[in-house]
């Protein structure tokens, strides 16, 4: 690897290295060339793809066992229409970051306060931001003697930079150690509420991912930069690398790593009900995809209702701009099956992950896979149906008001009445 493999470097130093490395060494293209593919459909890396496939498989699986009961049309599931692409597209397009909202923090003499609150030692941003102060020690180890702050309404670029590297760090645990800014793996024990760090390390596997690096495509960002930020996303694996330049923060690629970490803790705590096993169908995935279908969902639920993100707070915080959204994310990985699988989405064919305006129906909305499974005929201009009114003559309205001290006067309280009746054709109640 290149000079950025020094695990003792501060995060800032690492990120400066990533900017050049990602563009040149992996894909052999310049940032400018990479931008040409912006917005085009590029296959997700195997870890990302197979993690979401494992979720789709748990919620809308293939069900050959329903053929006899309900008919052959009920056999295919979400994977047959590539629903994982729906989840990946939605997560990678749900937040826009703009360059003018970013600013390197400034050193202040004041302790605490500011939009980020007290950036003291127990704030995970403290270390990241500390490396950017004039007095900060790029070699690490020097305690902060001042406070860094942002101007109200601006964000630190470091929130959106990530380099999780298992190769240069030696292991998954080593990568997390470096990311948190610790000197040694042993220190992780203090952060993780696990009794046996070695066992946690054995359980933790990022599958096909050796390294995930996210940086601004044009890092370092000029002070006067404006517009939608573009991100350089690099995923390295044993046999292949994926390099993309995309708009919006690539959350979809980060969440699966979080799920692997949560899954390892889930297994360590013995919350699984089934024995995990390698899953060749999702070979690119990590710890998470080894769980049984139901255990995958139980594992995700520990994020919402099991205290997982509280226990894992310090180790997960450096991986995401904000950890708090993870409960929302678990809501979404479930709910998006409704917006994707059970709508007409799969009928968009090969346009289904294009930009919204370029998506086109290629299958009649009444005939997509899920519609055949629900017997919904699709949108219509109207329906012939028998109907009736339940209250003959309409509702009563006898509340006394200043204008209507007795039973309601059918005349309206102002002259809008005539116009209203003419224009709407509405019947009086």
């Amino acid at each position: 690897m290149t000079e950025d493999s020094n695990a003792s470097m501060t995060r800032r130093g690492v990120m400066k290295g990533v900017g050049g490395l990602a563009a040149v060494s992996m894909s052999g293209v310049s940032i400018a060339e990479a931008q040409e593919v912006l917005g085009q459909e590029i296959p997700a890396d195997p870890h990302t793809r197979d993690t979401y496939r494992a979720i789709v498989d748990a919620i809308v699986p293939r069900t050959p066992e329903l053929e006899e009961e309900l008919g052959g049309e009920h056999v295919p599931g979400g994977l047959d229409v590539e629903l994982e692409k729906f989840l990946i597209w939605d997560f990678n397009h749900f937040q826009e970051i703009r360059l003018e909202t970013l600013q390197t923090p400034v050193k202040t003499a004041r302790s605490g306060g500011g939009p980020l609150g007290d950036l003291g030692g127990d704030n995970p941003l403290g270390d990241a931001l500390g490396g950017l102060t004039e007095t900060g020690d790029l070699g690490g180890g020097t305690p902060l003697d001042s406070v860094t702050e942002l101007v109200d309404g601006l964000m630190a670029p470091e929130l959106f930079q990530l380099d999780l590297d298992t190769i240069s760090s030696g292991s998954e645990l080593g990568a997390l150690t470096d990311l948190v800014g610790l000197d040694a793996v042993d220190e992780l024990t203090g952060l993780l509420e696990v009794e046996d760090l070695d066992e946690f390390g054995e359980l933790l596997d990022f599958g096909a991912v050796d390294r995930l690096a996210i940086d601004f495509a044009d890092a370092p960002i000029p002070d006067d930069a404006e517009g939608i930020a573009e991100f350089d996303l690099l995923v390295e694996g044993a046999n292949e690398g994926t390099h993309q330049v995309i708009q919006n923060y690539p959350y979809a690629n980060v969440f699966p790593l979080v799920f692997d970490i949560v899954a390892a803790e889930f297994l360590l705590r013995g919350e699984n009900e089934d024995t995990p096993s390698p899953n060749p169908e999702f070979a690119g995935g990590g710890t998470f995809v080894r769980l049984s279908r139901e255990d995958r969902l139980r594992c995700l639920w520990t994020i919402v209702d099991g205290g997982a993100i509280d226990r894992l707070d310090e180790i997960l915080s450096p991986m995401l701009p904000t950890l708090g959204i993870l409960k929302y994310v678990v809501m979404a990985v479930n709910g998006l099956h409704g917006f994707g699988y059970y709508t007409e989405w799969s009928g968009l064919g090969d346009t289904k992950t294009n930009t919204p305006n370029e998506r086109e129906m290629q299958v009649d909305p009444s005939n997509v896979q899920s519609r055949n499974q629900t017997d919904y005929p699709g949108p219509s201009d109207g329906y012939a149906a028998d109907w009736r009114h339940a209250v003959d003559g309409g509702f009563d309205d006898d509340w006394e008001t200043a204008e209507t001290p007795g039973p309601a006067d059918p005349e309206l309280p102002d002259e809008a009445a005539d116009e209203a009746e003419e224009a709407t054709g509405g019947d009086l109640l």
Partner: protein, 589 residues
């Protein structure tokens, strides 16, 4: 319009209401600003790919057939929160939606567009319960229910509000609810609800098929066209209002059956420009307001205008006005207030209510439905209006019978829960539901295979405003308009109790009607019926004017002091906007 008398920020359900009233009855010139797109307007023929025009003042700009092209009635294309055309985000569909930081298992469902969230509402227009206005200490004495009623009456006329039609699906609800059938509740025949019972929805949709294309009644034998051009008038009984609803197809915008505010009020607001005796209304979409300008007044701050940002070009501009009216909704109104640095005495953005929804699902055998509806085999959740019959219990909340298309049904019935996965979630045998929580896997596919015999009942709880719930500025994320809103909603213990009571009533209605299986989704917070985050009595005076800033009014649902008891809030929000517009006119024009 260079010098409007009033700037209204937000053209959602309420902004056009206030704009119309100010122009029509008070001779005021109004600039109505909207952050999202303007559908069905010739100035913006391709609102998602091209910036189009700047402002619309001519009612002839409105084009119903253009609206038909844009509202495709497809679910994902309309309702997906990231890419759907009915989302909260810039008109440019290549861009991401506007981010709100939500740290919980919850979902915010709003729309940025002229018409706002009313572009996808079910158009239910019950009045708030009288007790919510008259019997609760946090609503000022100056506004009694009797003061609201004239404005309800006006709003109901403007929006064609009337009783909804009963179709096959509603007959099943009535079977389970009505004391004249298998249920126990009386029919309520008064618009002002003080007792417990069931009734048709008062809703803002015209009568079904009041004129059909072949002169025959709209019934199951009807084989004619549903096109306005062929002579069809009125509602076409499609249950896809959440996709935008532009039926009857080919109808002019103002003749669409469902009166979302872009149908019911926007054409009228633009009509004022053709009347020399009235004020003028200009509507400018694609315009985000980023700051409220103020000056030191006599003893109080005074609003003097706003700073705007074009969402396509990024160009900014100051608009001066005599009075500023905020109508951006329960999230954006307080966010703008806070980003403008206006005074906050503790209730700005707080007290958010959302009817602490829940969702109780019944699955029915074919024979059961056939017994209730001898002429039909299915309930067909997509036929008829999305919600046409309801139950009311003042002091507790209400219920609504719901039918929707399958993508929305799968999400709402089975994929949105706070109870965990049903395979691990025990059900108390003393409760009237058979299962609860997420339904996934083989069981999900089984349930969805029975979509046409499935119906849900929405629980709308009278949740109390609590100061810890609401909107603040996020300290992590900013977008081009400043720090993003951070939103929080957790129910109180008594809210939970009222919700449980309503869920039991809903389950028993299903069981009375003969449901073979009853499922309680046990929703987490769904922030849709948002109200009361800028409460009259706390942040605002009884006229809707800010206590701490003169000439600054709030005329959207955030001004309501509570959840109006549980009934759908649109009628109350719009009636209140009409009322506040009169106070603005009386005070300053």
């Amino acid at each position: 319009m260079k010098d409007p008398d009033v700037v209204v920020v937000g053209a959602g359900a309420d902004g056009p209401v206030a704009a119309w009233k100010l122009a029509r009855d008070h001779g005021v010139d109004v600039l109505l600003l909207e952050a999202g797109p303007f559908y069905g307007n010739e100035q913006w023929p391709e609102p998602h790919v091209d910036s189009g025009g700047t402002v619309s003042t001519d009612p002839d700009d409105l084009d119903g057939k253009l609206l038909d092209e844009q509202f495709t009635h497809r679910e994902a294309e309309a309702n997906d929160p990231t890419y759907g055309y009915l989302r909260v985000g810039p008109s440019n569909s290549a861009r991401a939606p506007w981010f709100r930081n939500l740290h919980q298992n919850a979902f915010i469902w709003q729309v940025s567009a002229v018409g706002g969230t009313s572009t996808h509402y079910f158009s239910n227009h019950p009045r708030g319960y009288p007790t919510a206005f008259d019997d609760q200490p946090h609503w000022p004495d100056e506004v009694s229910y009797a003061d609201m009623v004239p404005y309800h009456r006006l709003n109901e006329e403007i929006t064609s509000t009337q009783q909804a039609p009963m179709t096959a699906r509603e007959e099943v609800f009535i079977e389970g609810a009505s004391q004249e059938k298998s249920g126990e509740y009386p029919l309520l025949e008064d618009l002002n609800v003080t007792e417990t019972g069931w009734r048709p929805q008062p809703n803002a949709v015209e009568v079904p098929g009041k004129e059909t294309s072949n002169g025959q009644p709209l019934d199951s034998d009807y084989e004619g066209s549903f096109s306005y051009d062929d002579g069809f008038r009125g509602d076409t009984l499609v249950g896809d209002h959440f996709q935008g609803s532009s039926t009857p197809v080919d109808a002019p915008v103002r003749e669409k059956a469902r009166k979302s505010s872009n149908i019911g009020y926007v054409p009228r607001a633009l009509d004022t420009n053709d009347n020399p005796n009235q004020g003028n209304v200009a509507i400018r979409p694609n315009t985000y307001v980023t700051d409220i300008h103020t000056a030191e007044g006599a003893g109080n701050l005074e609003a003097t205008g706003v700073e705007i940002r074009d969402t396509w070009s990024g160009a900014t501009q100051t608009v001066e006005a005599d009075t500023v009216v905020l109508a951006g909704g329960c999230i954006e109104t307080p966010r703008l207030w806070l980003n403008s640095g206006l005074p906050d005495d503790g209730w700005v953005g707080k007290g958010l209510t959302t009817h602490w929804f829940d969702w109780v699902v019944g699955v029915y055998d074919d024979d059961t439905v056939a017994d209730i509806n001898p002429d039909r085999q299915h309930m067909d959740p997509y036929v008829g209006q999305n919600s046409a019959v309801r139950f009311d219990k003042p002091g507790v909340g209400g219920l609504e019978d719901i039918g929707m298309s399958p993508g929305l049904v799968s999400f709402a019935d089975y994929l949105f829960s706070e109870a965990g996965y049903s395979f691990d979630t025990p059900t108390d045998p003393d409760e009237p539901w058979d299962t609860r929580g997420y339904i996934v896997g083989k069981e999900l596919k089984r349930r969805m295979a029975n979509y046409r015999q499935t119906k849900a009942i929405l629980v709308l709880t009278d949740d109390m405003p609590r100061q810890e719930n609401g909107v603040s500025l996020d300290d992590t994320f900013s977008d081009e308009h400043g720090p993003v809103p951070k939103v929080r909603y957790e129910p109180g213990e008594e809210d939970d109790e009222r919700r449980d009571e309503l869920a039991r009533i809903a389950a028993n209605i299903h069981k009375n009607a003969g449901a073979s299986h009853v499922h309680r989704a046990e929703w987490p917070p769904l922030l849709l019926h948002m109200q009361s985050s800028m409460r009259i009595g706390k942040v605002l005076d009884f006229a809707g004017e800010a206590k701490n800033v003169n000439r600054l009014f709030v005329a959207d649902h955030s001004a309501l002091a509570n959840g109006v008891g549980g009934p759908n809030p649109t009628n109350s929000g719009q009636a209140n906007a009409l009322r506040i517009a009169d106070h603005i006119g009386d005070r300053y024009f």
